[in-house]
Symmetry: C2
Subunit: 571 residues, 2 copies
């Protein structure tokens, strides 16, 4: 390590609540930081306060012919329910890259508002590896998700209005596939009946609300290349079917233009900083199961045009997040990563090695070794995409030297680089070794990125390919309903789309309890859904919750403003 | 008039679509404008882009001991369904005041998003009297309404979660009075059943969505003095009753703190400008029927501390808007207006004189004279509050000289000032005569503002007082249900609150078809509701729609982004 003092020596210690560290961090005005670090002139930015800004559509358009920097994907082993710190490691790695003098930006997803008030835990990193202003990022963050909620629900209202007035084409109220959304954990809205009260109050039918991050509008927002592409994709979304089973699109009900108008400002990527003043784009945040789980193409591509290195993350473990990053985001956008970092924690490996969640703090070298089959499976999977991953051990204070050494030995035997990363405790300085390994890989590696399957095989074969090559399943079991849907989508002309598999993130298999590196299992596909605007087919494997509930004691109970108007207990 | 060229000679003519005039207007950066016109230092502002800013809580707190300027209330005669241009006249009068060299600010309500996509018509003024950036103001406008929607729905989710987990106090699902909201015209959500699908999906019950502007959170947002008052008022809101009929508040379910956190940023008033660069605060926008229909106290009081004159508007005609401005906003905040402008249009007087809506363009001097009974009634009502109004004739191009002369003569005979105002056509220059009349009134008038009733008469007597003194009804008819509710509210200790009467805006009576100045009618009170946080009792007279629907051909159908990403057909 080249430096021994952190950038901001007056920060609370890393064990302090994240909000206290974040609030103590001295931020730099974003306009000056953007100009100095990325060369963005102030007039190209739309400020939201003094520490957040959106990069204007005009300026982004002007970047079109700029050479692109190198893209580093951060993914992870199969996670514990607490998560393995992908976001924290992405922030820390970017701080580390800036610390060693590289020109680097991190691209992250925006947190969803709903879960902030449910289980504790925002999504702006942690410890000394955080993006700020943390409160703004975890709450309304420039209104992006609110705009997506409004656009989604405008379409919902227009669908019911279309039916109410008897407009053509006649939508069958029993065959509407477009629900409503709120950015809120609200289980009572999962299954509802609307349009009651008589003929002037609409047509009664069954409906439901999803959380905003599950909206197809969110997925489109994150895959659109620009405003024009956004408006066209919105128009292609299917809201339901006529009585003779013809699809009805958002364009058919006339909502695509007004939706794009609602999303215009939001589609401009948000620029903020880490507590070490490294630039960060935080933009979009689709679900990682029924959608592709990556930040926006607009942000990633803009960052690549503005920086030498771009660090980005994909949702959940590599079986879900990395696979969708390649097969959906890379396929549609043409972007390709130049290196991949595979985050693991000693805790996660112990859990994969059979240790109960309550016992994860105790040293258990054998369990680490046993659980490493999961790590090795993810390494092999990433190699199938043409990249040799760098393993980053995200350090926790309870990790023992012997446990860490076991992972190092396994990685060395497997022929991949491994670095312990202490960004949570030490910020960028703690991730300097990892940063140097990444720079070395970018300079000397020769990735040949390949997607998992071509566009022109059947949808069922695409699901089978992912199941066999990534999940190492023996076969897939399509329900009769799922098979009919896949055939229907192919008949409708959507057979060329990639598949987006919604399964548990806690196992390679569809059974959350199967730890390690299972083989011989079957992937049960219960249902298939068409996201015609986002451009993928969702294969639903098991129970996937698209509207969370609040727990018995929601975090909201403790969140309030103190005497001085400061936010308390948001984390 | 002192000048003959408008400030921006290259603007499209006043007949052009409002959005084209607004877009052609050269705005000034808001930080510089705020410093020059109001003395607000840049660091006291939170910019939202280059042309909008919020005034920080800290800076507002620092204004506490500043002397206050003069407050001018803009109200109107009984409106036509198209509205009589209160907002446009308020913007024009403020431009006129600045044009003649006065230091003046206008305080307006924020437009609601939902109606923008339903019937055409935003709420940022019109012609040459507009506030800008018009698109931002009519769409998400710094996220204020989205924050209110989120805070409201967080409480809704926590109420259902409270019941789901069986927490104390036990709320009776049949006695919940807290609905959900969306800022959308969506009739299918008026009457719904939620919590279906089985025990893990909550408790089934009847529910419904209102539009966000009808939320009690919106009313509180507009009446709160500061963040502390906001959090306390939120805690007092009643969400439902226990099985033994005890009220359950937002504080009882633990939502008040998290709601205040969600509203913290939004509560800072928004500063923008007119197309003539006059400063404008636009903040909050409660319904004018089930709530009090005025912009926020935070904005009005801040403006008074920053400027010599503050022009503000109240919703609907003076029978509703001005009465609530006095009896709710002034009563709670301690603010008092120093002058009042009564907007009338020749069209509205003709309609009050019995002319059908389709025939309003044709000259009809007799109908103007007949309809002037409505104007005279409003003048007399305002005099009851201790203010002699200045009548502003909001000029329309089809108005004839004879019609205008008739109104002038009637006002002169009645002993009140009258001015023709041509701000729509000419901007501030066209409102200079009105501005001079207002300045003259502020310098020479001697208002003795009195509220209509004291706090300590019964709730029924308060309703009766408004009905007799303002609506000139013979009596009120309380339904049995309304009478029981009023008695219950008094027993609960809320008898001291003012009343907020929700009735049609199209007549002094509760019958929208009774034109002119009806007497001898009865005010039927169907239902009474307690807004314990906002601090008023709502008396519902007739059908009041709290969730609008979209029309057969919603405006949204034509709204879209053009080839250059410009918004088309938003108005």
């Amino acid at each position: 390590m080249t430096k021994t003092t952190p950038l901001q020596p007056d920060l609370p210690p890393p064990g302090a609540p994240d909000i206290e560290i974040a609030r103590a961090a001295k931020m730099r005005p974003i306009l000056g930081l953007a100009e100095e670090k990325l060369g963005i002139p102030p007039e190209a930015l739309v400020p939201y306060g003094h520490y957040k800004a959106k990069v204007s559509h005009d300026y982004i358009a002007s970047l079109k012919d700029k050479p692109l920097g190198k893209l580093v994907l951060v993914t992870a082993v199969t996670p514990t329910p607490a998560g393995e710190g992908k976001t924290t490691t992405s922030v820390g790695l970017n701080d580390g890259l800036n610390h060693i003098g590289a020109k680097s930006v991190v691209c992250l997803r925006e947190p969803s508002l709903g879960p902030c008030f449910g289980m504790k835990g925002g999504a702006a990193g942690g410890g000394r590896a955080q993006v700020v202003p943390m409160e703004d990022i975890n709450l309304h963050f420039n209104g992006d998700f609110h705009a997506i909620t409004a656009a989604h629900n405008l379409l919902s209202a227009m669908v019911d209005n279309h039916i109410h007035w008897g407009h053509e084409p006649k939508i069958d109220p029993r065959q509407i596939v477009w629900k409503r959304v709120l950015d809120m954990n609200d289980r009572a809205l999962r299954d509802i009946v609307i349009g009651l009260g008589g003929p002037v109050h609409g047509v009664p039918r069954q409906d439901g609300f999803d959380i905003t991050v599950a909206s197809e509008v969110m997925a489109i927002f994150c895959l659109a290349n620009d405003l024009k592409d956004l408006q066209e994709r919105l128009g292609r979304m299917i809201v339901g079917y006529t009585y003779d089973k013809q699809p009805v699109t958002a364009r058919d009900v006339g909502a695509d233009g007004a939706m794009a108008v609602l999303l215009k400002d939001a589609l401009q990527p948000n620029l903020v900083q880490s507590i070490e003043h490294a630039p960060a784009f935080i933009h979009g945040g689709p679900f990682g199961n029924i959608a592709h789980g990556c930040n926006s193409v607009m942000a990633t591509r803009s960052a690549l045009a503005l920086s030498d290195i771009v660090v980005t993350e994909a949702g959940f473990g590599a079986d879900l997040g990395a696979e969708k990053f390649f097969d959906i985001k890379c396929r549609q956008s043409g972007l390709r990563p130049d290196a991949v970092v595979l985050v693991c924690t000693i805790r996660a490996l112990k859990m994969q090695g059979g240790v109960a969640r309550a016992d994860l703090d105790a040293e258990n070298v054998q369990a680490v070794k046993d659980g490493a089959v999961n790590l090795k499976r993810h390494i092999a999977n990433l190699e199938q995409f043409g990249l040799k991953p760098i393993v980053a051990i995200n350090h926790f204070v309870k990790d023992s030297e012997a446990e860490i050494e076991a992972v190092r030995a396994i990685c060395k035997a497997r022929g991949v680089k491994v670095e312990l990363s202490r960004h949570w405790e030490m910020g960028g300085e703690g991730a300097a070794d990892l940063a140097r390994a990444v720079v070395d890989e970018l300079e000397t590696g020769s990735p040949k990125v390949e997607l998992l399957y071509p566009d022109d095989i059947s949808l069922a074969d695409k699901i089978l390919t992912v199941a066999q090559k990534v999940y190492r399943a023996h076969d897939i079991h399509l329900s009769a309903k799922a098979r009919r849907s896949l055939e229907q989508f192919e008949e409708m002309g959507y057979g060329h789309l990639p598949v987006c598999i919604a399964k548990t993130q806690y196992s390679f298999s569809a059974d959350a309890k199967q730890m390690g590196a299972p083989t011989g299992h079957f992937l049960p596909v219960r249902e298939a859904r068409l996201s015609a605007g986002a451009g993928f087919i969702v294969a639903i494997c098991g129970d996937i919750m698209t509207m969370p509930g609040l727990p018995r004691k929601p975090a909201a109970l403790d969140i309030h403003l103190d005497e001085n108007g400061l936010i308390q207990n948001l984390s």
